[in-house]
């Protein structure tokens, strides 16, 4: 073996050594549980005795797919994702554009806007649940005092309203995240580009549409990808507010119900695998779209 080959080999060994902790961690927390979950989805095991199982083929997957409650959960999740991510993006962009301008106290505002994002979701949910309470809530009190409604609205109980309430709380909590990511994107655009446009007489609206927006698109796209994946696996907000209420049930809550409430390890695992596949598919599509953007932009 030549000295060069020996050195190469040694370097490879060192590289693997450095990667080892990560590989172990990944296998331990991601690959092994995922593999177990997929494995159990082909069995009729129950949570109290997972060692007792028989293979049932794809029966569990069919059972989940034939359950209208599951599709209700999928519909809820998609509706929640599209509306909340859409609203957060628009609001995030608007606020980021405001914060991008220099003004007195910008640092304080920038820090203050992070407060909702810094709070645990359970806490935020409880706060809003209390504020939106139909009898004692601050919001209803305000509305009644202002004479906008006659009696309090049951924001968190009325079936037609509750999913919108969930979306509202989520927008309140996660808009700061969008603001920060988009603001970071805006700050990457060199000031001189705007000055060049300004001197050559390009009006404000065109500077926004043809310069700011296209150049901030990668940042907005990445922020939307993060938020979309986050929203698709949303659990805490809906669960704290309404537990397994069908009107707000998300895919994750459905899987958890099968697994924990009904102790059905096989069915629950199949539901989890469905969720995994749906989110995976959407992620692939979004990443594909983003990458397409990058080659043309």
């Amino acid at each position: 073996m030549s000295a060069a080959e020996k050195m190469q080999r040694q370097q490879n060994r060192t590289a693997w050594l450095f990667l080892l902790p990560l590989i172990i961690a990944l296998v331990g927390v991601a690959i092994w549980p995922l593999a177990r979950s997929i494995f159990f989805s082909f069995t009729d095991a129950f949570l109290d005795a997972p060692a007792n199982y028989g293979f049932v083929g794809i029966d569990n997957f069919i059972a989940v797919a034939e359950d209208p409650v599951f599709w209700r959960a999928v519909k809820n999740t998609l509706f929640f994702t599209v509306i909340s991510v859409g609203a957060e993006t628009l609001l995030g962009l608007a606020i980021a554009l405001l914060l991008h301008r220099a003004f007195v106290g910008r640092g304080i505002v920038r820090a203050a806007i992070l407060v909702p994002w810094a709070m645990p979701m359970v806490v935020s949910t409880r706060i809003w649940e209390w504020m939106l309470n139909d009898q004692f809530g601050l919001v209803n009190k305000l509305l009644v005092t202002l004479g906008l409604v006659e009696k309090g609205i049951a924001w968190t109980a009325e079936p037609s309203l509750i999913l919108h309430t969930v979306i509202f709380i989520d927008v309140w909590v996660t808009t700061p995240f969008m603001v920060l990511l988009i603001l970071a994107g805006l700050q990457l655009i060199p000031e001189e580009i705007y000055e060049a446009a300004e001197v050559s007489g390009v009006p404000h609206w065109k500077r926004f549409w043809s310069i700011t927006l296209p150049l901030a698109t990668p940042a907005i796209g990445v922020a939307m990808l993060f938020r979309t994946l986050d929203a698709l696996r949303m659990f805490d907000l809906s669960y704290v507010l309404a537990a397994n209420n069908e009107n707000t049930m998300t895919m994750s809550i459905y899987a958890r119900d099968q697994l924990i409430s009904f102790q059905d390890l096989g069915l629950g695992s199949a539901a989890s695998t469905w969720v995994f596949m749906i989110i995976g598919l959407i992620a692939i599509v979004i990443v594909g779209v983003l990458r397409l953007d990058r080659t043309t932009g």
Binding site: E192, E195, S200
Partner: protein, 369 residues
């Protein structure tokens, strides 16, 4: 095309005065260069003219019209940035035509103008490329094309060549000079590079600490600098200076060099406190030469087409001598003499201003004091 006039223009950022009451008249079609050390306010002054920075005081006129309150987008100017500031997501063609899209020009007119500008700048083959696929020189051409296409009244250049390597800088310098000869539009050009200033300018404005030190044609500034700052700023290597100490009523002594007196004519109240000699005005001669001052030969740099010698006159004073021709046969550490023609001697008063001595002042080397 238009003239540009600044009247009593000042600009402060907080307590920091960047520009201090500047009056300046730039004629229609003139190529004016602002030059000065970094932080002298030259770029800010350009931005004030562009309208990118509002003035703190004073007035700006373009083509005789008051534009102090007119926003940058309505001043009819074009600005070429040091960073080029091309739109990274648009191809070259769109970069050039972007500002025309809202200018109520027909599609054909826009295309005609882009084609014309691209041909003029030899970038026709690059029209479909994006800025990041271009070299520095090509980007610079696109930036100039973008400025040209709007047919502005005045071109403003902010250190446009400082991101290019030496060869390309020379090439672009030539092109910009040619461009000015072709379009004959007023151009205002900011640089810290005195070669660019000397070669491009019809007139140069030398700025220092927010003030104008001198305005004039390049040759005028070089030959007849108004003060010590201008004298020291233009020229490379820079002018050699030596402080004078008043000694008795009959003349002065070169501090630290000694034995050097000048005639009593200039011994009055406004007597010079410093002398200046350009490196090319000095001649290396043997130490015994009459009238020459003496120093120690320290080092020679041979640049091929010329050579620069360093001669130590005192502990704190090293003068440079620049000459062409065959290298000199002096050894390091040898004592040599320096001589010059009276006409090339500059004298500076204690306020830094140059004192005109009519080119006839003979300084005689006297006995050591």
């Amino acid at each position: 095309m238009a003239s540009v006039t600044l009247k009593n223009v000042s600009k402060s950022f907080g307590a920091y005065d960047v520009i201090r009451s500047i009056d300046l008249e730039i004629e229609d079609g003139e190529f004016m260069v602002f030059v000065g050390p970094s932080g002298c306010g030259k770029s800010t002054l350009l931005r004030v003219i562009a309208g990118l920075v509002p003035v703190s005081e004073g007035d700006v006129f373009i083509g005789g019209e008051q534009v102090t309150e007119v926003p940058a987008s309505k001043r009819g100017l074009a600005f070429v940035f040091q960073s080029y500031a091309l739109y990274p997501h648009m191809n070259v063609s769109r970069n050039i035509s972007f500002a025309l899209e809202t200018a109520r020009l027909g599609r054909d007119e826009i295309r005609r103008r882009v084609t014309k500008v691209a041909e003029m700048l030899k970038i026709s083959h690059l029209l479909d490329r994006r800025p990041r696929q271009l070299s520095g020189g090509q980007r610079q051409r696109v930036a100039i094309g973008r400025a040209l296409v709007g047919e502005p009244e005045v071109f403003l250049f902010d250190e446009p060549l400082s991101n290019l390597d030496a060869d390309l800088r020379m090439e672009m310098r030539f092109e910009i000079a040619k461009l000015h000869a072709d379009v004959k539009t007023t151009m205002i050009y900011v640089t810290h590079d005195q070669t660019e200033a000397m070669t491009l300018a019809d007139r140069i404005v030398i700025l220092n600490q927010g003030r104008i030190e001198q305005v004039g044609r390049p040759r005028e500034l070089y030959d007849r600098p108004a003060n010590r700052f201008v004298a020291g700023f233009l020229g490379s290597p820079r002018m050699n200076f030596a402080p004078l100490d008043r000694a008795a009523s009959s003349g002065s002594v070169l501090r630290g060099v000694g034995g050097f007196c000048h005639s009593a004519e200039l011994a009055g109240a406004d007597a010079p406190v410093e002398i200046g000699l350009r490196p090319e005005a000095l001649k290396l001669v043997s130490a015994e030469t009459k009238g020459a001052i003496r120093g120690t030969f320290e080092r020679m740099e041979d640049l091929g087409y010329e050579y620069v010698c360093y001669v130590r006159l005192s502990e704190t004073l090293v003068w440079t001598v620049r000459s062409t021709g065959s290298p000199l046969a002096f050894a390091e550490g040898e004592v040599v003499g320096l001589s010059w023609q009276p006409v090339s001697l500059y004298l500076f008063g204690d306020d830094g201003r140059r004192i005109d001595h009519g080119g006839a002042l003979h300084l005689a080397l006297g006995a050591s004091l």
